[in-house]
């Protein structure tokens, strides 16, 4: 498959005016501004396939929003090449934005004082959507995003979750090839997040819309995305499928043992020390829940010996439960960034 988004050596440097404390410095800076350069996006290479659900992930300040702004054509890059659907987003902005939908979580595109329906009507005219297509599409979106209750409400009276639903539905009216969402779940409660994620997944499967989200909320990424681009300090540290990310960075397993009595813990530790000394290095004891937990490199996992150990723990020191898990994407990402 040919990539729909292709970035090569992408770079953005911000110039920040330094502010020094004190009134005198404030006056001085009017005449002699003191600038500092901040590399927000540092030589980034990545590509995304058509139809994928991709996440740009990274801690605050990693450069996610900067990258999104370049991807949607509102920020000029300082170096590198960017090709999205065969266009250069910044230089072909007018033509380009016809085929994308953009929502910034911190800001709504709805008309503040007018109803959602009025916003949609303006949006239709701005994008030149034929009325018949518009009504068809709106019908589908109404069900997907639960719009009936809010269509006639002024945007300023909507809750955060409703605003986001309306905002995303609005940009889907023009049937975009790519949907860009910057922190779409910021400030939303768990239920709103869940319903937004469900709707986005449906949009992706129904219309084959490529979706690119940035988020610092790893749960969102985990439940929504098929691809991740991990960003840190303006650099890409990983670009690939979620499975590949978990395989690459999650080459360890989490083990958990639960016992019936507190006295069992000490005995269990002794047994483990004898049977699998490697496991003892990172073992954590939680007395309140009578648990021992640890991680083991995938290569060190030896089923036969583990089962044998579990059996002995059960017979000799009251083991009640035993589990071994693969790390989740969320844990893998936390692991990478820590």
């Amino acid at each position: 498959m040919t990539p729909i988004i292709n970035a090569k050596n992408l770079r953005k440097i911000y110039r920040i005016k330094r502010q020094h404390p004190g009134a005198w410095n404030a006056v001085k800076s009017i005449f002699f501004p003191d600038y500092e350069q901040r590399v927000a996006v540092d030589d980034i290479d990545f590509s995304l396939d058509e139809g994928c659900l991709a996440a740009l992930v990274g801690p605050n300040g990693a450069g996610k929003s900067t990258l999104i702004k370049m991807l949607v054509g509102v920020l000029r890059r300082d170096a590198g090449d960017l090709d999205v659907m065969g266009l250069d987003p910044f230089n072909h902005r007018m033509r380009y934005v016809r085929n994308i939908g953009v929502v910034f979580g911190q800001r709504t595109n709805l008309l503040w004082d007018l109803s959602v329906q009025d916003s949609f009507e303006l949006h239709r005219a701005v994008f030149g959507i034929p009325r018949r297509d518009f009504l068809c599409r709106l019908d589908e979106l109404r069900a997907l995003f639960n719009l009936d209750e809010i269509l006639r409400q002024p945007a300023r009276t909507l809750s955060l979750g409703q605003t986001m639903r309306a905002d995303v539905a609005q940009v889907l009216l023009q049937q975009p090839k790519i949907l860009f969402l910057d922190e779409p779940t910021i400030g939303l409660d768990v239920l709103s997040v869940k319903s937004l994620i469900a709707a986005l997944r449906k949009v992706n499967s129904l219309y084959a819309t490529t979706i690119v989200v940035t988020s610092h909320d790893l749960t969102v990424i985990e439940e929504l995305c098929s691809n991740v681009v991990l960003l840190d300090k303006g650099r890409v540290i990983f670009d690939g499928t979620v499975n590949k990310a978990v395989d690459t960075y999650g080459n360890y397993r989490k083990l958990r043992f639960q016992f019936t009595h507190e006295q069992n813990l000490a005995m269990a530790l002794e047994l483990i020390a004898g049977a699998m000394p490697k496991m003892l290095q990172r073992i954590a004891t939680r007395r309140e829940s009578l648990e021992l937990s640890t991680v083991l490199a995938s290569d060190d996992v030896d089923f036969a010996r583990l089962l044998e150990l579990a059996q002995r723990l059960r017979d000799e020191s009251g083991l009640r439960e035993f589990s071994m898990e693969k790390p989740t994407l969320k844990e893998v990402i936390l692991h990478v960034f820590s």
Partner: protein, 280 residues
């Protein structure tokens, strides 16, 4: 649920590819009428700005006499027209644009396939129509009731006045836009806006007819575009000249406006290339 096709002129606008802009104008009107208190308060605040002149002029020339051809009736008509024009074009777009730039809200405009400047002009036209109906017409009614015998609205000059007023309208938009766009480069504040507006009021003939200024100053102001905001349209109304002169004046006004529009386009393009979108 039905989404009725609204607006009688929309099919025509759609055909001309202007539907987005017609909708933008309609939306601007509907947004403005969401704040009826603002409309009302702004309307009643204009008399405070202007009525003083009328009393002053009446006190000076009530018993006859004139200065440089400006007698009681001419001055009352001059300030009445200035008042009405001002009510239509004084939309403080500069502050709105500066706020869009500083809050990063401009990004919402940039991700839509419409020209930012044209789109804002459409809104300016919408609000201009609203202001014409809600401000200008009542103001004309009020002024003619109060100073009936001194205001002369002869029909022969109205046509030229309207043409000049249209140029003034567009020029006012371009000037407010230019001031607003500087927010990309400077941290704009109310003080700058206020000072610039104050100066423009003075050198455009809103406060004093320009030919009452000292001769050298008047000669300089005649070389600048600002006279086309108030002085020229009102002059055309008060002292219609030869048709060729009026046509020439109109052309020069249009060229100035075009120049400002090109300047705004350049400034905006430079701003996008050199500047960042704030927020998020």
């Amino acid at each position: 649920m039905s989404f009725p096709s609204r607006g009688r002129f929309l099919p025509l606008a759609r055909w001309a590819g202007l539907e987005a802009y017609v909708q933008a104008a309609r939306v601007a009107i509907r947004q403005a009428v969401c704040y009826p208190a603002d409309i009302f308060i702004e309307f009643i605040s204009y008399p405070f700005a202007f009525l003083g002149y009328f009393f002053f002029v009446a006190a000076l020339f009530g018993s006859g006499g004139s200065v440089q051809g400006y007698g009681l009736s001419t001055l009352i008509t001059y300030f009445s027209l200035g008042w009405v024009l001002r009510m239509i074009v004084d939309q403080r777009l500069d502050g709105n644009v500066a706020a869009l730039v500083q809050s990063g809200g401009v990004v919402s405009h940039l991700v839509r396939p419409v020209d930012f400047l044209h789109y804002l002009f459409a809104g300016f036209v919408g609000r201009g129509c609203l202001r014409f109906c809600f401000y200008a017409l009542p103001a004309i009614l009020m002024l003619t009731t109060l100073f009936g015998e001194d205001i002369s609205l002869r029909s022969g000059d109205v046509g030229w006045f309207i043409l000049y007023a249209l140029v003034a309208f567009r020029m006012a938009f371009e000037l407010q836009m230019l001031l607003g766009l500087t927010a990309f480069f400077l941290t704009m504040n109310h003080q700058i806006s206020w000072t610039v507006d104050m100066t423009i009021r003075l050198i455009s003939g809103l406060i004093v007819p320009l030919n009452l200024f000292p001769e050298p100053l008047f000669r300089i102001l005649e070389l600048l575009p600002f006279q086309y905001l108030y002085f020229k349209p009102i002059q055309v109304f008060l002292h219609p000249a030869e048709i060729w002169n009026m046509l020439a004046g109109l052309t020069v006004g249009m060229l100035w406006t075009l120049g400002l529009a090109l300047c705004n386009r350049t400034v905006f393009r430079a701003a996008l290339r050199r500047h960042v979108i704030y927020g998020s």
